[in-house]
Symmetry: C2
Subunit: 386 residues, 2 copies
């Protein structure tokens, strides 16, 4: 009801509007039923219907444009039909902003055991209880439709590193066939489908895969395009050269999403090369281990050097953690194994990363992205990790 009425009155959903460009970098926006997404944007990960350690209010104060949910996890627990019966993922987790759900593919390949891939899909055993499940392109879309996310990811195979050329091609070609099946499967009215480009570090295969994706797109357009299977251990230069060649080939008028990235350095590089959307568990996971991102480089808050420090973690940061607490207090919370330490650290690292993309957007709009990126990197490198 709510979504339909939104849809009726408002601007058409999806379709990217470019606000400014600087080289390949771009500031843009697109509409979803749960609000406008301004890019570049970092999307915090909410695997199990919660961005770990944060309430929706705390998340809202951080101000992400989109957050992620994980189809694999939510399908296994509590079950997508339960979430649907409770009004969908937005209502279940009380998050009213845009949500992207992944396809479950990546987690099946990285978490589940006893995987058996066929043309139809993947049979696997749950990492929770060993129960047997079957995920297909149609099933993945159906689950994401039950969850009611705004952005639905196509079901793909993320090929293992070091696969021989023939196996890699076979995998990518199957992903293409799965993509066509995804596109044919009905979505909820407010949802958009993103296609995923694979091919490991083989640029030829990636380009061929992109051509196949764009052939489907011609008849049945996608709402966005993602690059998967990078940032999985390959050298930085390989990721960079792959993006440099590949990103300009993606349609300019749809969002571009680099999956599983990442670090502040990689995000700035991705923006420079034309990427709009990023996601990664690293800022929040690192936060829970006390490794914090600041405008003057990385800090391990557990180090004894912070024990008596009355300073804010990052005096240039305006987040709840930096406004209210000293490094000494954050150090104490981690040493004392207090949950609040995880929460305050997560608030900071996610604020820092979201703010980085927000600042990049403003810099692009001013035509100052190149100098912004250089100055930011220089500040990080000027001080060793403490």
């Amino acid at each position: 009801m709510e979504i339909n009425s939104l849809r009726k009155n408002a601007v058409p959903l999806f379709g990217l509007h470019i606000d400014a460009e600087e080289g390949e970098a771009r500031a843009a926006h697109f509409a979803t039923a749960h609000g406008t997404v301004s890019t570049p944007a970092f999307m915090p990960v909410g695997t199990q219907a919660t961005v770990k350690c944060l309430t929706p209010d705390q998340l809202d104060a951080i101000g992400p444009q989109v957050i992620l949910g994980n189809t694999y996890h939510l399908h296994l627990r509590p079950g997508s039909e339960i979430i649907q019966s409770l009004g969908g993922l937005h209502r279940f987790m009380n998050w009213q902003g845009p949500i992207l759900t992944d396809s479950g593919g990546f987690q099946v390949f990285s978490l589940a055991s006893m995987r058996k891939i066929s043309e139809d899909g993947v049979a696997f055993q749950s990492h929770l209880d060993g129960s047997t499940h079957h995920l297909t392109p149609e099933k993945s879309i159906e689950i994401q439709s039950q969850l009611g996310s705004d952005i639905v990811m196509a079901f793909d195979e993320c090929p293992a590193a070091g696969l021989d050329r023939l196996s890699l091609e076979a995998s990518v070609n199957r992903t293409t066939r799965w993509l066509a099946r995804c596109r044919r499967t009905p979505l909820a009215a407010h949802q958009g489908l993103f296609a995923i480009n694979q091919g490991g570090t083989n640029l030829d295969i990636r380009k061929k895969h992109l051509e196949d994706i764009l052939a489907i797109d011609l008849a049945h357009p996608f709402e966005g395009f993602a690059i998967g299977g990078l940032s999985v251990g390959e050298p930085k230069e390989v990721m960079e050269s792959t993006l440099r060649d590949l990103v300009p080939r993606l349609p300019k008028d749809r969002p571009r999403y680099l999956m599983g990235v990442g670090s502040p350095e990689d995000i700035l590089k991705g923006i420079e090369l034309g990427v709009d959307l990023f996601d990664c568990v690293s800022p929040s996971r690192e936060a829970r281990h006390g490794r914090l991102l600041t405008s003057h480089g990385r800090i391990n808050i557990k180090n004894a050097t912070h024990r008596r420090s009355d300073e804010a973690l990052d005096p240039q940061c305006g987040c709840y953690t930096c406004r209210g607490f000293s490094k000494a207090y954050l150090h104490h919370l981690m040493k004392a194994d207090e949950f609040l330490g995880l929460t305050l650290n997560t608030i900071h690292n996610l604020s820092y990363t979201v703010e980085l993309t927000r600042s990049a957007r403003i810099a692009i709009q001013k035509g100052q992205f190149a100098s912004f990126a250089k100055a930011t990197q220089d500040r990080w490198q000027s001080q060793p990790e403490t």
Copy 2:
């Protein structure tokens, strides 16, 4: 600076003003440098400079009149001199409301090993690293003065249950001598000292101890009185009969604090018998195990019966958790071991307990406490735990 200016302009600190009485129950208030305390009041416990799982903002929304800090824990980690150098406990944990610190006595007797009690004080080994420490009445007051809490508790011995009469008398008499030493030790200008009555379940010894306390009070008045060593395993009837006889003997014009209580039932009973202040880890600890207090009785949110429930935990509760989330979501968070479950559960159980004392205060002011207490208890008993 802040505290001094507060002190200059405002009403004199401490000294209880009774707003209404009903039988022994009373609604009252007293001033501290960090704000007025309205009673009856339940004080959440913030052992290690944090009420577990909550930010100060979340705690503020719950609205406790006072929170607790633990001298034993803070002395061992991070150390009271560090907290003092960082501006005191209020600033360290970013909590601007009133704080009560215990004396460290109870924790030394319940957590530390290798305790050796002498007339001077207690030598013990830290439960963290086995290091040797010495706590005396003077040292306890000095630490609490460094912490800068509003209410300072006298250093006492909490005698073990089942002590023979002679040993119990010896212990209580030493606590009296320690109390006199506490009263002679300088506090910060804004701090008030509460005396603690001991004597286990022996009413004669408790009465004699109270006489000794009041003899000291005559010359050097205390700012409040506490009853310690109850709710430590004795039968409910013994706690009740002890309070019934003892509480009316406490000075009417000072706050009365029943230490380590407790459950909703015990709090209502304490209020009926004339107690003003309560504290207990139980509501927050139970919350972390999924055991939740509601106006219709106790709920174990991990039970499968809540798996699909779209209802709020307690439709009569206005807390953040009950306003925004279903029982199914809270169930899911606990099953998925998500930190957010601990936070949302803690918000609810503390809100419920704080609200219970706030409602009791209003009922006393309306002369309806007896019927309020009965109706509340009847509602709890009308439904089995689910």
